[in-house]
Symmetry: D2
Subunit: 420 residues, 4 copies
């Protein structure tokens, strides 16, 4: 805790009780650069949270910053609804050339509004429209957003209760490795599907995260994802991969599902797609699903052109070759090695993850929050996740240097020791 | 239409069929300044649409631009979730000092995510949570957003159908002047409320726009709004004013409901709150309604700090005194005079509006689209609204000069003549 | 109240608190014949309630009783599911010959289960299936049953609350004469239908009672019903007349809608269709609506053959000519004359009705219950209805003699006087 | 098939396409006595269906018949709504003395309307009201009725589709032995309950059949039922046993759950409760759950007094001592022996059951229907069940004599042979 008390008064008196992160990190941040945040009292914080995965390229990345300022300086279109703009065209062309074409992905691109939940709502609407069915299957501990459509396929009971209405049309299925490790994958889901007496409303779609970030860094294996894709195909359900947190390179490849070799029917992207932390999201889908009527879904900020500019810059800068993916895997190895050591030293600790998304869980479920608090005091921003906030979640920027990673992992180890 | 065909190919091949405005304005915009848009072929367009009301202070307003670039240059926090930041604190303090306190409005401020539909979803959730009831009353031709919660209180059948599930928990009531002009206001609504056999599920809240922008520039009178506030009070329903399009000075006062002298329980703001076209929204509510648990509603981009910076600048620049309101009313008078002349010259034309939100309707419902198309060819960006796109909608920036207004109104008059 | 206290103990200790009529009539009934009930202590009660309209031909009508006993004696099929039986065939043939053919009604006949709510559930399912839409319009103060489908189109807030889930897919519209007497019929309903921005989900059907029995003996005029039929036709909605309480001759003609000259798409019958108070119901519909798959709706007791036997006997006995209708209208005139006199003598009293369904309402809404209680003490069984039980409801058996009617009306007049 | 074609014309022309059993048994039944049905052409049919379990005491059981005729002859109350009657009092007292008290069951008794689905609807309403939650868990291949509330917890996709609206608020769980025989019971259900991130809406109740009759004679073991009761208790969910088909002695004890030694919170009874095939049903619940307001649930035929008379007679005649249970178990042994022999002779055949509810399943799923058809030709009424009608279901009356059983089982064996 800082010695000089930060002036938090207006947050405490004027801002709603709903505020949350500011409670765990009781200071006032002022600047940020790369992997570091700086508060107004001059304290420095290494960021292992990266805007919940929105800042894969670090804070105020200089390449993107240059592009952004140039665009603003020259009075480029800022707010464009879904009008054609040069910034949007550049983004679309680059996204096609750098991302879709090399991966042989046939997707159409929709700008559903600039937030993740907009992208999920659009994906669910489209799936229901295409299939003419209401029901959607999601997974235990899924997180897809806070608006009613997305919330209905989100697992967290506390957040669901906030809806104030019963959330329906969604059915949860067990995520990979959810049960006892013995029960065969999809045995329950497939029995429900094949049995016309099962009582399951035939789903329009299945929505899944390849790694559940909010759910506790639960990692679906490539094999499980392939089986899921196969189940969807055999039972005429669309497969939606919500890649909002795990896409844009977080796990290595641009899309987190690349490793599994599957091609989802619909993909949602947001968080790090603009690269600079600016609101932007995409809903991608196979061309045969593009049954939208003009304007059937819209949104005021779906044409956030400054975000298109920085998004285009990230693609050109980081994705024109395979370096980014390679580097993320190396950094992931560095993280894993450190976590292995930590868990070896602390009984009851286990870790899991992929690319640069990792979690450590302790048998004592209250431990994670204590660690995050202690880490903050030690100058490390790190968050918890999981239904009981029982998992310490590592989401450093992909651009974090090996030295920075090392620094943060050492701080984390210390916070773990000091909360034992 | 431009002589050189603009290169629209990537929009047509890669972007989803859902795109809409770009169809009516088939060009590629590149720059914008104040009241004007410029396409890449050098054509100039006077903007009477202003980002559907998101650009009340004009495109790339130089004061806001300066503040924005300074903030980016100095590596101010860009993406802040709901962490405390100096930019957020400055916004909150300024919003309190410049907006809330002078109007004696007691609201708490929530950052529900950066789009209008996020703000509406949060408002509906909160109302339902506070009252423990599911049902919400909305009005004919209401527009509140595209995510499922907001869509359920939106009137447009085409957009509702996009949901792919039956939209429930909402009941429409007649907006001001919806029926025959004879039927007393609220006679139906109040009978339903007072009769325990009516079949209406007791509503948690009523959500209303003071002027329905998307619905066709339908203007609720101050008296009707006061009666509505009274109905809500007497029947224990929360009154939510969705001021996303009509707030931020569009009708004169900062809030569109000021003229009626009412204090809604919950208010949503978005579109022009950042002033620069950057995604931002607020949900305001009376302090006794602030029953949120920390994190019960959240959103990745709810802390879009660059938007806070420009928002603060708009408040300091335009709202520290009463000039803006006065100017808007003067500009409104200028518009009204021109519309009066137009309607006098065209039988079957009528107009309505308030402040700088106006609509012209023609008996021939297909006329409005023809006018908007012709206006585009003449260099004027203007949109239609209403359930059958039968209303030409005027939403120029509040900063439009009298000369620019005059130019646009003359172009509009010409487009009307040329489509007769 | 009886002098010897009846033995009600098992009802009070073992039967659920949900019991209701037995509270207002605290005695133990033992026998019944024609218009009279007899309790075990030898008291006689004239019955102006007739099993809530289920005993139009009186208690234990001797003609029906003979047919019923003969059938039981000869071991006729009792429980027949939907197997072909001689009793069912006789009923179907008679229903066709005596009821449908003379009225030129083209209906197919469905046995949806033996209660009214079964018939309504089947009607709603069929309408939704035929039209492919979920929404159904009902009317203020409608009563259609207690299972979830029927309850969702029932107005009473107290009964709706019993559902324990939010009741959706139904929208109430104002019944005839519901508003101020000035507002044109259907102005609101038609505006909603014609305006694609109204927010009303396009209904599959409209369900209506011609006289709302539970709702307070609210009488729809023939003209209003014709307008409603026309609205349904013009807007492609099925018209369902719920004739459970008002059919089977209660208002004069066999169907209550005959007077209006309309042919509903679907009709529900129950209560007095068996004539003997045995559970039975029918759902009738135009042949082009018969899109049911075999067994798509079913029910264990849909083949209650003893009820078919008594039903057939009622048709042969009472409906082979026009005498019944004529007699009911005469008896109705007798009732109306008495009510006119009563209301002339009691300020604040008004009456309404048709055929042999009548109601008296008092300005003092608590009066009706006092009257019913006093009437019971005076040996008259009479019930209240309306959302606040503010209406004394007269539903004597159609077979009540003029002298019996006179006796009951005099007792009623006395009960009114004595509660003044 | 009969040689003289039965006159089925009115069924084919006037009755709805929804009719079903009459298609498989294309004759016109006229009389019935004990275990036999007789058609109008003089053919005799041994009944192994017993009104889908509604005729546990055989057709037109002479003891009940005598009581019924006596009651009708003496003009006992026929239709009694929920008024106190001597017939109802006698039933309640006898039910308490003969059924509840000896089993130490504390239940309050509700008359929810005379059909099974009425009883289930009331049970679900009550559970939701008590717990203040909407969600109810049911099981794969459950059957609970055709009205919307019951249908939402029924498994059959074909019947669910008939609803015409999406059925919500229900979640299916695997019934006993549903998966691979390896997966531990309730592993999935309990994980969902204990994990606050699972996405399962916390259920108000679990509804279960001890043997799923319509679902294919799926037998829950006593141990599984005990575990289920324990899960319900630990997770604060009410346990509803739907004993409509398996109660009233079908499996041996009066209630089918007696063998497991559990005491459900709510129990539904119907089908054989009247004993004579007359519509009647009960909803039983623990006294602390009796939170109904008077009249909060009602129904016109909930006081079907002739059914109370025969119901009382069944209790006095068959349940005053333990003979009935003993006899049913003996008869069950006789059936099992025969089925064992049959299955030994036919590869791919298996059987299961308990008491006098048994099923035979064949690997060839189309076989069951062929057997039932052939059996009919051979004078045996027998039905199929299961999601694909793949199970031959034996539900003979409990009063079937050993010789009759033997006759039917031999006919069944022949039908199986002849369809091989």
């Amino acid at each position: 805790m800082t010695i000089t008390q930060p002036d938090l008064s207006v947050f405490e008196t004027l801002e709603s009780e709903v505020r949350s992160y500011c409670r765990g990190w009781p200071t006032v941040f002022d600047r940020a650069q790369g992997s570091y945040l700086y508060d107004e009292d001059g304290h420095t914080y290494l960021d292992f949270f990266a805007g919940a995965g929105s800042l894969n390229y670090g804070h105020n990345n200089p390449v993107l910053k240059r592009a952004l300022i140039d665009y603003i300086e020259r009075d480029g279109i800022t707010h464009g609804l879904d009008m054609g703009t040069t910034a949007k065209r550049a983004f679309l062309e680059t996204f096609q050339d750098v991302i879709l074409r090399p991966r042989d992905l046939p997707y159409k691109v929709m700008f559903p509004g600039p937030t993740g939940t907009n992208a999920v709502e659009a994906a669910l609407k489209l799936a229901r429209k295409v299939k003419g069915r209401e029901s959607v299957v999601s997974f235990t501990n899924a997180f897809h957003g806070m608006s009613l459509g997305s919330l209905a396929v989100t697992g967290n009971a506390f957040k669901r209760a906030g809806a104030g209405i019963p959330l329906v049309h969604g059915t949860p299925m067990p995520f990979d490795n959810y049960l006892d490790g013995q029960t065969p994958d999809f045995i329950w889901f497939e029995r429900l599907l094949e049995d016309s007496g099962s009582g399951l409303n035939q789903p329009a779609a299945v929505i899944v995260e390849t790694i559940q970030g909010e759910g506790g860094i639960n990692v679906a294996s490539a094999e499980w994802l392939r089986k899921l894709a196969d189940v969807c195909k055999r039972w005429d359900m669309l497969l939606i991969v919500d890649d909002i947190q795990m896409g844009c390179g977080r796990t290595g490849g641009f899309f987190s599902f690349e490793e599994a070799g599957i091609t989802p029917d619909i993909v949602t992207l947001s968080k790090s797609i603009s690269g600079y932390g600016l609101p932007m999201s995409l809903t991608l889908f196979k061309p045969e699903l593009d049954v939208w009527e003009p304007g059937e879904h819209n949104g005021t900020f779906r044409g956030n052109n400054p975000a298109f500019v920085t998004a285009t810059a990230t693609l050109d800068t980081y994705w024109a070759d395979g370096q980014m993916e390679k580097q993320t895997i190396e950094r992931g190895n560095q993280i894993e090695a450190a976590l292995r050591t930590i868990c070896a030293e602390h009984s009851g600790a286990s870790y899991r993850g992929r690319g640069m998304a990792w979690g450590i869980e302790f048998e004592d479920k209250s431990r994670a929050n204590k660690i995050a608090r202690r880490a903050f005091d030690l100058g490390l921003i790190i968050e918890t996740s999981g239904p009981e906030s029982e998992v310490v979640k590592l989401l450093p920027a992909l651009t974090t240097t090996p030295d920075e990673l090392d620094e943060g992992l050492r701080t984390l180890a210390r916070a773990i020791r000091e909360t034992a």
